[in-house]
Symmetry: C2
Subunit: 397 residues, 2 copies
């Protein structure tokens, strides 16, 4: 039996999928237990000099109507037309592997339901953490665990910028420009810098872990554009690194609280050492205590590796893998409001503020301290307002 | 359909398997897609006060001859009688999940062949890295990659001892005693301290990655009992941590070179920050560049989590998973001799030795330096002999 694949999109990830597939075709077929080949590559652009140029098509119907195609790799990005194409494939019983976090975060529940209904699979390992195996380990290897919390550094661009600020004392604007020059950041860096990309990824992890779709709109998301160089250097003084953290935890009443916020992480926590464009996810659960998954969160071949891992799985499994799925949620009453987010907090206040406490640190940006005890975000904001604080960030030990 | 499980052994891991299974039974069954229950627990000892005491048996034949038992969790440890029991189960088509690294390293090829022959599965996620998902991510999520190197901190006991030496400046003997008091080290600590445990684990990873059984006897293994406190503190001065590293890489000619050696790891490498009883495995491959898996390498519930992940997988998959397998190897001519191991090296020589070079460091134990260039172990030993060196260790950036 031979499995025929279609790749939607020949951008960075899509071209990586073709490249890595043909480089390792022999061992990929050994893993899948069957012959495999790419039959179509869909792209509206012309690639006259590309290898496999005989496989290109501009017409999605060529793929949809070819019954030989049983597995589709979607690497176009964006919600449309990706959603329409992916849904059409699933509705015809073609399994889909995607790298498209925007699509999964917005429409995962609908696509998973389509896959169930038509006895095929919708896989999305590449949508979170790039090369890092996290989706499959979460729902398979850790299947015996009750997972109650996950902390992730899920955006490589912001982690690169914060690393430059931390290690090289480089101001934010300069670090962003460097990231753009190196191809780590888009011309319009909003999605990365303002935390939207990390938000989509924590929505996907939250949905998978807790079994109901979490929509990006319901997740408090704060990016890194307000962070001052002095906050990063003070974090260092306190023995912490500053990271953009996307996290989710289950509260005692069963609701969950996902959030994206710049966060101080103690250097006793290995997450503090995740630098440059690398990503990591720490999973907390009753059986394992904690486990971390670390690797490249983006890039051509790393993301292609994850897409192909799913393509191989889809080629092997003709029937729906039920454990990797979640239910739709009409309203998000199981997502608690950010006011309830409980943590220790870092405060930076004006130098003229009178503080009657130990453990403060003063530099040109103001006086900083970390609260002794945990308090909710609502309480922290109220204290911040009392103190005329210039900045507050949560602190993780 | 209901899947009936037998657990062989009610020691630390076996009792953890029963405990975690009943704690999370509902979600475990959701993951497996079928009802599951433990029908037998095999142990020669009496546990009159244990929960599930109605399930205990001292007679292995009760399990072997009960056709209702389709999945067996082997948590006895040691090669015999585990090998005889596991082989008998596989020969009857019962899938087995084991935490027993000694068994897998010694007899994995034979047991995998039995599983293939009788269309069942022999799973061993728990045998390497305890709670850390590594076996399944390696052969499934990274299936599109050509993996050419793996570096592991695979023994929690030695990592705890080295962390104590490094962080608290505690001498080896004292750190070992503390590890014993805390239950991290056995009364006879040889298997851990001399590297045999790490050796078994790198054999399993090497066999899985490169497809042929690598036997412990063919792997150069040096433990940590010779390490001086001054080596650890000098490593620190050079910006490195001292770790017991179990590694394997593929040479240009296709042979592989596994080894277990105390190694200096640069603190720019996140592996240097893996402390206490934690384990980690860094995998290098063409698609992903590198990815690290980190977590608790031992312990009751962490190991039980990995065993149960396999039990769930076995309950779902009635047919052999061919990608998680390797071939027997009659001779180990594909394992290169340790003399060919190439690296930069750390040397410590007598203070009276005359060294005409920069970058040396002197303390009460002697003069230390790291070689500028890579050289083979044979070359390093020859240089060490020339210099009357007191210690040499490889260095990883």
């Amino acid at each position: 039996m031979s499995v025929k694949i279609a790749v939607l999109g020949h951008g960075v990830v899509g071209s990586g999928v073709a490249e890595l597939f043909y480089k390792n075709k022999k061992s990929i077929e050994k893993h899948s237990g069957c012959e495999m080949d790419i039959k179509y590559i869909l792209d509206l652009r012309d690639f006259p000099d590309a290898p496999y140029c005989d496989k290109f098509t501009k017409n999605f119907d060529d793929i949809l109507n070819d019954d030989e195609i049983t597995v589709v790799a979607e690497c176009m990005g964006g919600v449309e037309p990706a959603f329409t194409f992916v849904k059409a494939c699933l509705d015809k019983g073609k399994s889909v592997a995607t790298s498209n976090k925007e699509l999964v975060a917005a429409k995962g529940d609908i696509l998973l339901a389509s896959a169930r209904e038509h006895s095929c699979n919708f896989f999305f390992e590449a949508s979170v953490g790039g090369a890092i195996p996290i989706i499959r380990p979460l729902h398979r290897c850790l299947a015996a665990n009750d997972i109650d919390r996950t902390v992730g550094i899920l955006n490589g661009t912001t982690n690169f910028i914060l690393t430059k600020m931390f290690v090289d004392n480089m101001p934010f604007d300069e670090a962003l420009k460097l990231a753009q020059n190196l191809g780590y950041a888009e011309k319009d860096p909003t999605a990365d810098v303002e935390g939207h990309d990390a938000c989509r990824k924590i929505c996907i992890l939250s949905s998978l872990i807790f079994g109901r779709h979490v929509y990006p709109e319901s997740v408090y998301t704060k990016g890194i554009s307000d962070i001052q160089l002095c906050d990063v250097s003070i974090a260092d003084t306190f023995g912490h690194s500053m990271k953009l953290v996307a996290s989710v935890k289950r509260l005692d009443d069963g609701r969950i609280l996902p959030a994206v916020m710049p966060t101080l992480i103690s250097r006793d926590n290995i997450m503090a050492e995740v630098n440059d464009v690398f990503n990591a996810v720490m999973v907390y659960a009753d059986g394992i205590d904690k486990a971390m998954f670390y690797g490249r969160g983006a890039g051509k071949l790393p993301t292609a590796s994850a897409v192909l891992g799913d393509v191989i799985e889809a080629a092997k499994h003709k029937v729906t893998v039920f454990s990797q799925t979640w239910e739709p949620s009409d309203n998000n009453d199981f997502v608690a409001p950010i006011d309830e987010y409980s943590s220790k907090w870092y405060f930076r206040v004006l130098s003229s503020t009178k503080l009657d406490m130990e453990g403060t640190y003063e530099n040109e940006c103001g006086i900083s301290f970390v609260s002794d005890t945990e308090m909710t975000f609502a309480e922290a904001r109220s204290k911040a307002s009392e103190l005329n604080a210039l900045a507050i960030y949560p602190v993780i030990e």
